[in-house]
Amino acid sequence: MKKSTQRKIIVYLVVIIALIVIMFPIYYAITMSTLSLRQSYSYPPRFIPSVHAAQNYKTAWNTVNMGRLILNSSYISVVVSVAKISLSILAAFAFTYFGDFKGKFFFFGAILITHMLPLPVRIIPTYELMKAFDWVNSYRALTIPFFASATGTLLFRQLFLTVPTSLSDAARIDGAGPMRFLTSILIPLSRTNIGALFLIEFTYMWNEYLWPMIITNTPDMRVVQIGVKMLLASEAAAAEWNVIMAGTIIAMIPPLVILLVFQGTLLRGFALKEEK
């Protein structure tokens, strides 16, 4: 056998084994969501799907009012993504097209510092602040504190720096103001990055757990992640894994769909930023 064929076989073998190992938990979760309670506790465990999916998904959906939770999660994820993208485009525009205005580097540092302050280092005062604003258990508390994005600002700044100067010169000669230039030239040019950033921020917000858990306290304000935890915790005696997995699958679908839609964008968006 030729050496290159041998190598190909090794590569495929490793990839297939890795794929099985990585995908098995998902496969098993899906299988579990189709079993009856009795089947779910059989020993040895059952690895082949059964026919009880509809029942399990219905139970999961109704037990924790999944419709409402999905609505909440979708709302906060979309609002935060859109706000983060908008604010960071505005900030990046200010940093790239207005020369060295007074305080520029101070403000740049101020936005970058976001990286240094993840929620846990300021969680108690932030919670107290929400109480002071009377925002506890509200959409405002779930969204507004997340609006600043150092990542987005850096990403768009880097992109704007690579835009040919001729474009902004032409815009100026045509008498277009800065905002006009931003909306009709820069934003359309940033589509790939906007897509990549939307995927990142939506997923980030959808998967947020600690803050929603602390800041909300009524069932109608809960988010999907907490819903799955409620399914897990609500069974006093033993976990009803079939129902819990049905809930888990429901909860992971929205970011997965967005990943599938934007995954090309993601790779290209990242590749782009490497140019400097």
């Binding site: 190909k8 938990p25 600002t153 990242f270 490497e274």
Partner: protein, 293 residues
């Protein structure tokens, strides 16, 4: 340098929303964390008593805190090492121009979309002591009955596996993006010169990927410190005993369950020192890169 629009107020106006958010929700609360760490809340919760550094001395005299610190370091080290080394090997295979790789790529990066909490739920099922498939497989192969609800070590291994698995998609995405930057000619030239694939990987691919690797080291460390709360809360809640009580979980317990505000704030300050060190490293060694998180 880009063309300048001359407008005296516009840049400030454009920056004001971002800066306002950062100041109100990030900078001020962080300073307050530091401030609160010097106080103790009176038993009735109505008064703050200045106690100097006693929250910090209590912290570093506490065996439970040291335990938590050591567990966090073991956990972070394992998650970072496993996640990154697996991802770099897999990504370099996925990057080969072979049939079917594009499809496989999509399947391998999708753990990125799964939250730590959901990853924890799925792995709690895998490790279920009575009927979990992993427990079953290990019992068939080695005759050992794993029970992560009884054994702290097994629980720690379980959360390490779950956390690394969840991060694999993210790491593979970044390595794939990094690999796209390596010119094909370079690897081809090395190949013509007779370098074996393994040698090419260690001598060319790995060194050229080092900015990506470094970036991922930082991001994975941050993840292991801060983002795993949901995973732990779903799987072990810090148990059994305090075998998996990582710093972030301990902070939550002391701050929001036992409501020891000053003590928890001191823990926040310690965490801040960790992040500050990481951030400085990040800017020092990888200043031209964009960070996602």
């Amino acid at each position: 340098m880009q063309t300048r629009f001359t407008n005296r107020f516009l840049p400030y106006l454009l920056l004001s929303p971002s800066v306002a958010i950062v100041v109100i929700f990030l900078v001020i609360p962080t300073i307050q964390s530091l401030y609160l760490s010097f106080f103790r809340i009176s038993p009735f919760g109505d008064r703050k008593i200045y106690v100097g550094l006693s929250n910090f001395s209590k912290l570093f005299e506490s065996e439970a805190y040291w335990n938590s610190l050591i567990i966090t370091l073991i956990f972070a080290l394992a998650v970072v090492a496993i996640g990154i080394s697996l991802a770099v090997v897999l990504a370099s295979f996925l990057n080969l121009k072979l049939r079917g790789m594009t499809t496989v790529r999509v399947l391998m990066i999708w753990t990125y979309a799964i939250s730590p909490a959901l990853a924890g739920t799925i792995w709690a099922l895998m490790f279920d002591p009575s009927s979990g498939p992993l427990v079953y497989i290990v019992r068939q192969l080695f005759g050992v009955r794993l029970n992560w609800m009884m054994s702290g070590n097994i629980a720690l291994v379980a959360i390490i596996i779950a956390a690394s698995w969840k991060m694999l998609g993210y790491n593979i995405i970044f390595f794939l993006a990094g690999l796209q930057m390596i010119p094909d000619e370079l690897l081809e030239a090395a190949s013509i010169d007779g370098a074996s694939p393994v040698r090419r990987f260690f001598r060319i691919t790995l060194p050229l990927l080092s900015p990506t690797t470094f970036f991922l080291l930082i991001m994975n460390t941050l993840y292991a410190f801060f983002q795993v709360f949901g995973l732990i809360d779903v799987m072990t809640r810090g148990g059994p005993g305090d075998a998996t009580e990582v710093l972030i979980y301990k902070l939550y317990r002391d701050g929001f369950v036992t409501m020891d505000t000053g003590y928890a704030s001191a823990q926040s300050v310690v965490l801040f020192v960790f992040v500050a060190i990481l951030t400085v490293l990040q800017f020092k060694y990888a200043e031209r890169r964009v960070f996602y998180g």
